[in-house]
Amino acid sequence: MKLKASIEHKPNIPTASMADIAFLLIIFFMLTITFEVDKTQVQLPKTTLRYEIPKKAAYVSVDPNGRIRVSDGNSQSSLVSAADEVLSMAATVIATDPQKTFVVKSDGDVPWEKVDEVLDALKRAKVRDLRLLSDQRTVDDL
């Protein structure tokens, strides 16, 4: 009697759903990605209270050397020479969107004088929604 040849099983890992998972992750990253408009490296002050800052906010950053950079929230931040330029930028932004959120991202060791100039400029530009960017204060900081 002739023996039936055993059915040959091809080793096969089911990879069909792998792409689904991968694309799901891609969509997640694409939705959550926020493009940083300001890449200034600063040591932020630490606070206990911290609230979420809306996306697309305009940024004014002050680096440890007191240099000021501004961004309207859409384009990368650019260096300005004086606080008066902050005023003109803020006034332009506020003219198109009076409720625009402004974020002050300043290094914690910058003298108050410098931040004061920036706040004064923003105040004169009639900015209504202003946030001070900060890091979380933890028990170790106390």
Binding site: T15, A22, E52, K55, W112, S134
Partner: protein
């Protein structure tokens, strides 16, 4: 005799799909920077041409000097003591303005520390949020002197 016919493959080759997808994932993971997008809201007083006149005696003045040394109404004080000092005053008049006035050379983080502390007044047992005011140098010069 059975004729062996070359059957065309009816499958879509999807094995490389995952490679492409993971490549994209790696790209997004590398380019995503988790940045601090949280902070304190800072209420700017209305830039009014005729601001309400506040007598110095009616308010509490917190001066901050370089290094974070605090002077509250001419008394040197530690950060943790401010709320206790303010409590009896604010119970009498919850709207009493508390003015933060950092020295020009004071590091910004000390001002933020004091502001953060005052914002937590309700957690420390006060009935209403503290009426905090941080005048800018221009305002101090034009209205106080």
């Amino acid at each position: 005799m059975r004729i062996e016919r070359d059957r065309p493959d009816d499958e879509i080759p999807t094995s490389s799909m995952a490679d492409i997808a993971f490549l994209l994932i790696v790209f997004f993971m590398v380019t995503t920077t988790f940045t601090a997008t949280r902070g304190l809201d800072f209420a700017l007083p209305e830039d009014d041409d005729n601001p309400p006149v506040i007598e110095k005696e009616e308010s509490v003045l917190i001066e901050i000097f370089p290094g974070g040394n605090l002077v509250v109404d001419q008394n040197p004080m530690k950060l943790g003591e401010i709320i206790e000092y303010l409590k009896p005053k604010l119970e009498r008049n919850p709207k009493k303005p508390v003015i933060i006035r950092p020295d020009v050379a004071t590091e910004y983080r000390h001002m933020v520390e004091v502001y953060d502390e005052l914002r937590q007044g309700e957690e420390h047992g006060l009935s209403e949020p503290i009426n905090i005011s941080v005048p800018t140098q221009r305002e101090i010069q034009s209205f106080w002197y």
